[in-house]
């Protein structure tokens, strides 16, 4: 159980950043994961007044505010037209509608949780994160970075022509995934983003469709946990990537 001494709705990103420099303060996302933790938070910093809950679309890109809810990306017509529904597919089995109305894109991406369907799907796209102090960083690089006291402002998805397919294996519909998989074809390159390994999602690239599933299975490290063994996950990678490649071929 967590306790919170003070709650502040930051009025500027600078105010939020200043408050976030103390280790005893925390930025709130949807609070769904944070609330399951333990400890005492001195100041809970809420970004809800900063207009970061919107998704803006231009001809070149989508700009997804850190406070946009998972339900927002699930229902966004432009984003799902661009990804052929892959973004909606990636979040549709995350608990329930109520949960997805609360969980934020920023919370999921910032947490770089191993089980994150959200990190997995965006990693397969031409995606960047905008950090308040750190500037714009490719998501692939951000996914490998250690957590610091910066602030994730928004996610930027470039409209680079691509085809993408999302799939995941769950033991039960609304459970965390045993394995998450997003495969895309962009600029002649195949990209497989493999999440819930159970470590955080990683990106494997290749330039040939033939043998790509086996290549990804050989190169994506897996481990065992309560939901599945490393060997089972490696088998799943091969199956899901193969299916995704077949689907990509038909697009």
């Amino acid at each position: 159980m967590i306790t919170i001494q003070k709650y502040v709705r930051a009025q500027t990103l600078e105010e939020a950043w200043q408050l976030n420099q103390s280790k005893r303060n925390r930025i709130l996302g949807g609070m769904l994961w944070l609330r399951l933790g333990k400890g005492s938070i001195n100041t809970a910093i809420d970004l809800c007044d900063l207009g970061l809950n919107t998704i803006e679309e231009t001809e070149e890109q989508f700009s997804i505010g850190a406070m946009a809810a998972l339900r927002d990306i699930e229902l966004h017509e432009g984003l799902n037209a661009y990804t052929n529904g892959a973004v909606a597919d990636s979040v549709k089995d995350i608990v329930g509608v109520q949960f997805r109305n609360m969980a934020t894109v920023g919370g999921s991406i910032w947490g770089r949780f191993g089980f994150s369907d959200v990190l997995t799907v965006f990693l397969a796209l031409d995606t960047y994160v905008e950090l308040y102090k750190g500037g714009i960083v490719p998501l692939e690089q951000f996914a490998k970075m250690k957590k610091d006291n910066d602030i994730l402002v928004r996610l930027i998805v470039k409209k680079t022509p691509c085809k993408v397919v999302y799939s995941a294996m769950r033991n039960q519909r609304t459970d965390l995934p045993v394995l998450a998989c997003a495969v895309s074809c962009m600029n002649g390159e195949y990209r497989a983003s493999i999440g819930a390994r159970p470590a955080r999602a990683t990106l494997i690239r290749g330039d040939k469709a033939e043998g790509f599933a086996a290549f990804v299975a050989e190169n994506a490290p897996t481990e065992s946990n309560i939901r599945g063994s490393a060997a089972y996950r490696t088998h799943l990678i091969r199956v899901l990537v193969e299916r995704s490649m077949n689907e990509l071929g038909g697009m």
Binding site: I4, G96, V97
Partner: protein, 151 residues
Amino acid sequence: MEIKLKLNGKNILASVEADTVLLDFLRDKGCLSVKRGCDTSNCGLCTVLMDGKPILSCSTLAVRADGHEIHTLEGLQEEASDFVGFIADQGADQCGFCNPGLVMNTIALLRENPDPTDDEIRAYLAGNLCRCSGYDGQLRGIRNYLNSRKA
């Protein structure tokens, strides 16, 4: 902290601790339809509507409701009565513990999608767990209710 919100149509000014969750605040205000179930954001028992959208009150800070409109089942009696009466007649209601959350989320579903398919009903209500009676009965009850509205 002082918060100002509209609860079931009435303006409320209240003082809450920074870590008071909305569920506890609402029950203190007499909204006893809002139940604490799993307390881990998974079961949907504590569902309320914030600005018309279903959320989990067990995982929402009361201070985050400041400036927003909250509806619990107490404030939606009229909208819920047809549906609740119908599924009770069908023997498809859940027990009094889980039922308010199911009813709240069904109201949200029907506002968003007045004529859902069975798969859409299953998908929308996937976040409402039932502790005793199951799911097929509720799906059948909702389907029959929707069919009865078309007749």
